[in-house]
Symmetry: C5
Subunit: 90 residues, 5 copies
């Protein structure tokens, strides 16, 4: 998983089967000093993440499997909203 | 998933089993300021994306699974055409 | 897998199903000269890795499968704590 | 998938189960201006790609699944030889 | 798959289930001019690769599946020792 910050939303009407009724958020990966790192990711959100919140994003088949019995072509999901973190560097 | 812009098409006659009758588009990943980001991706399209349109691309097994009961060796699929997006940075 | 150094922990109350009771550590990928390499990864830990320890991190579905019969949306796991390593370069 | 150019072949006698009788080609990812992009990939080829040809390479489990009923540890496959492509940039 | 050079070994006592009795090698990705490329990878080896040898490394679920009926959380495997290769560039 990686740490990210929710910076936006995206809407799509014309889409693949299985994409109905999904909230899609734009997540900027950040490091633990809040610097941006790498390109933004579009992730599905079922837990109510809001603009500006720090989130944990999981990718690939493990992430997709939150939709266990449906064929949802999603490769990134917000799996947690960050309460706090503690980092010791150096 | 990532945001991309459709910039082209590619055709292939000599191909693997399962690749028949697929529309393959060339997608340039872009960021939310429309800057190019990273190498182009070849993605299958079943939803009618057109040249220049902004699309959402999913990858890996979750994307492949739109072909649920067929053995299609596709690792990237256009899963949505973008209507609009909203980004708040900083 | 990649070599990493545990540099922190992250806590989340609002999370996806399957994320309950997981210890999530922040891992900095490092090379064999102890230089940092690439962005940090959030990995689940079941083997008791501690702050500052060198660990082996596995990703994707193979990593997720340590939770064989549960639907845990985890894409990175600490699979070993490093006792020692030997490198011959050049 | 990505666009690549076949630049070589590799041979191996001592190998894992499932790797027997596979033709392994070295593919240089290229962009649509024929510039090299990123490190070379070793991909299995069953469709007769030749030196210098432009090919479409798929990766991961979707690619592996062309060997549907065999346990072949291949993570990249040439899925098409490019006839032509059309790109509109800017 | 990618071409790599075996540069070391790593040992771990405290580890996840399924990691028992695995030989773990440190592999430096290289290009066809023997230049280093990208961060080192820790890969399982069952075919007897030795220090300094050129190897082919496969990743993800296709690689994991050499352990077909066991739950081994391995995401990289040495699938071949390189005998020779031939490259034509330009």
């Amino acid at each position: 998983m990686f740490l990210g910050k929710v910076i936006g939303s995206v809407w799509s009407t014309q889409k693949e089967e299985g994409m109905e009724n999904l909230k899609l958020l734009i997540v900027q990966p950040i490091d633990w000093k809040e610097n941006e790192g790498g390109p933004t990711v579009i992730a599905a959100d079922r837990i109510g993440a809001g603009m500006g919140e720090r989130v944990i994003v999981s990718r690939g088949t493990p992430a997709k499997n939150i939709f266990a019995h449906k064929n949802v072509p999603i490769d990134a999901v917000i799996v947690g909203i960050v309460d706090s973190y503690e980092v010791q560097e150096g």
